[in-house]
């Protein structure tokens, strides 16, 4: 019996691939690729929400770069991202190193330390806003009860403190991701390497320096780059905690863009805000995708 044409077609790889990939391609083209190109185009327009835009060249970009508030927010974004990533990295590595060996209660601690990761970021931000509350929040209550302070602190309104308080929340929600990645990375390092190092009389510190760090390099890189992208482009924490106050001290670019678009309806310039930051992100993304693809190939 010769297979019918339909059977042959059914198993033809090209036809199948097209069919299998159709939904994915539809999704990617309609809600990622097309909107992305459209965002680039809108950033060169004077466009008010609900009206057709008008091409104005690089005017939006010029306006932004001439605005000291915008430059301050660029600085904030870099500071916020760099500090949050650095602290998350340190805490995540510390937690992973401590959780890695089979020890009593480690299973329990693992579960506990991962919990913030399952808490929606909005919820975490609201929760923290309540912790920071000037008059009834937990932080002031505990500090007063312990006698560590006599006056309540307005955590989110204090210009010197606000950004650190926002970063603390980013650290709280983001650290479990680092802990998990690093734990997985630690498990992948061959035990023999540690044994060999021990036979050579390496100290704990040397072991860490010459076995752990080289073995984790790829994971370190991927984690930091992914986290950089998501930390710098996520506005939830800032939006819910302070919305940029006091005096734009805690504002970051995605939140600035959001407020421009939703508050003033100036979609063109709001798009340009994100575009200016994008080249920096692209560098991170390019490095990252190369890493991810290399890891997949090996």
């Amino acid at each position: 019996m010769t297979p019918s044409r339909w059977d042959r077609l059914k198993n033809d790889q090209m036809v199948l691939a097209a069919l299998f990939l159709l939904p994915t391609l539809l999704v990617l083209l309609s809600v990622v690729v097309y909107p992305f190109l459209s965002a680039v185009w809108i950033s060169f327009q004077a466009k008010q929400a609900g009206t057709p835009g008008q091409f104005i060249g690089v005017q939006n970009y010029a306006e932004l770069l001439g605005n000291p508030v915008f430059l301050q927010i660029v600085g904030n974004t870099i500071f916020y991202t760099a500090v949050a990533v650095a602290i998350k990295f340190t805490l995540g590595l510390l937690a992973a190193l401590v959780l890695a060996p089979e020890r009593r209660l480690n299973g329990l601690y693992r579960t506990v330390l991962f919990v913030p990761w399952a808490v929606p970021t909005v919820i975490a931000a609201l929760n923290w806003r309540w912790v920071y509350d000037e008059f009834s929040g937990m932080l002031n209550n505990v500090l007063l009860a312990l006698g560590l302070t006599k006056n309540v602190v307005a955590w989110l309104a204090e210009p010197q403190l606000a950004m650190w308080c926002v970063i603390a929340v980013a650290v709280w929600t983001g650290t479990p991701f680092y802990t998990m990645s690093f734990l997985a990375g630690l498990q992948a390092i061959p035990k023999e390497l540690y044994e060999a190092a021990r036979l050579d009389g390496a100290s704990t510190l040397q072991e860490f320096r010459h076995v752990t760090v080289p073995g984790m390099q790829a994971i370190f890189l991927v984690t930091v780059m992914l986290s950089t992208v998501f930390t710098s482009t996520s506005l939830v924490i800032v939006n819910v905690l302070t919305n940029g106050a006091p005096a734009e001290r805690t504002n970051i670019l995605p939140n600035f863009s959001f407020n421009l678009a939703m508050g003033t309806g100036r979609l063109g310039i709001a798009s340009a805000v994100n575009m200016i930051f994008f080249p920096l992100l692209i560098l991170v993304i390019l490095g990252l995708s190369r890493r991810l693809l290399a890891a997949r190939a090996s």
């Binding site: 994915t24 919990v115 929606p120 994008f278 992100l281």
Partner: protein, 283 residues
């Protein structure tokens, strides 16, 4: 002998240091959650001002009652659930098909597509919300739950496809060839051979899709203003009325909103570590 006892001392010292670190991290992790849960069971008197307590002296369910009788929380909860389930179902199917094609079928442009997937996954939402808003308004999908599901696919599908590719590659080709020889179609191979052996991977995919859409904030706050289509992340902050916070009911709502993702997390926990090595989503 002296060596072994000093070794043991060292090991004990290390264990002690580890427990100190863990205790500090646990307090830091659980502190805010403690405040959230206890606040939700307090009376107003104990929530505010000088009579504020660290522990509810007269535990009450009043805040929860307010939530269900005076606010549309139940609507938000229902919307979030429906949207998360729909996104999960569509994502798992779409990604399974896409990942299988990218891993097992030969066709021109395969590598380009696989690479493109990583790039699309990394395009931040903050860049896309403006044009997407215009598109949704033009297609009549703004203020609808369908609109949210469709836009959520934009970040769940690339990530989950990428994740599944890693697992599908590890399925022995011989297994599939045997199926093909036995007269299975490719579709049959995918559904009867590949998907059953990669069940844990599909579970991880489902977990990510569910939590990502349950947590989503930016798209939900831009594309939806109608109470009937609002989800929890944008609904709860709207309890803030003119800068007045009703912290009791608000914390009750956060407690209830954390339960579904936490439940899913506890169920899927053992598979997550492997899924995460491939790079997850928050952080």
């Amino acid at each position: 002998m002296a060596v072994t006892s000093s070794m043991r001392g060292l090991r004990r010292g290390r264990a002690l240091a580890a427990y100190v670190v863990l205790a500090v991290l646990a307090v830091w992790t659980l502190g805010p959650l403690y405040w959230m849960v206890t606040t939700s069971f307090k009376t107003n008197r104990e929530v505010y001002g000088t009579s504020a307590t660290l522990w509810p002296r007269q535990p009450t369910l009043a805040n929860y009652r307010v939530l269900f009788t005076k606010t549309p929380f139940a609507v938000y909860f229902q919307n979030s659930t429906l949207i998360a389930l729909a996104t999960t179902a569509v994502t798992v199917l779409t990604s399974a098909f896409g990942a299988y094609a990218l891993v097992r079928l030969r066709f021109p442009g395969r590598r380009f597509l696989a690479r493109g997937l990583v790039y699309t996954y990394l395009v931040p939402q903050s860049l896309l919300f403006i044009p997407l808003f215009t598109i949704l308004v033009n297609t009549g999908l703004s203020n609808t739950r369908t609109g949210l599901v469709l836009t959520y696919l934009g970040f769940t599908v690339p990530f989950c496809t990428w994740l599944l590719m890693g697992y599908f590659v590890s399925v022995p080709v011989e297994l599939e060839e045997a199926g093909l020889v036995d007269g299975c179609s490719r579709l049959g191979v995918l559904f009867r051979i590949v998907m059953p052996v990669t069940l844990p991977a599909l579970a991880v995919t489902a977990f990510f899709s569910f939590t990502l859409s349950w947590n989503e904030y930016l798209y939900a706050s831009v594309f939806v203003s109608d109470v009937n289509a609002k989800t929890i992340p944008t609904g709860i902050p709207s309890f803030i009325i003119e800068d007045v916070f009703f912290w009791g009911p608000m914390m009750a709502s956060t407690v209830l909103s954390v339960i579904p993702p936490l439940a899913v997390y506890f169920i899927f926990q053992r598979w997550l570590l492997t899924g995460l090595t491939l790079g997850a989503v928050k952080g």
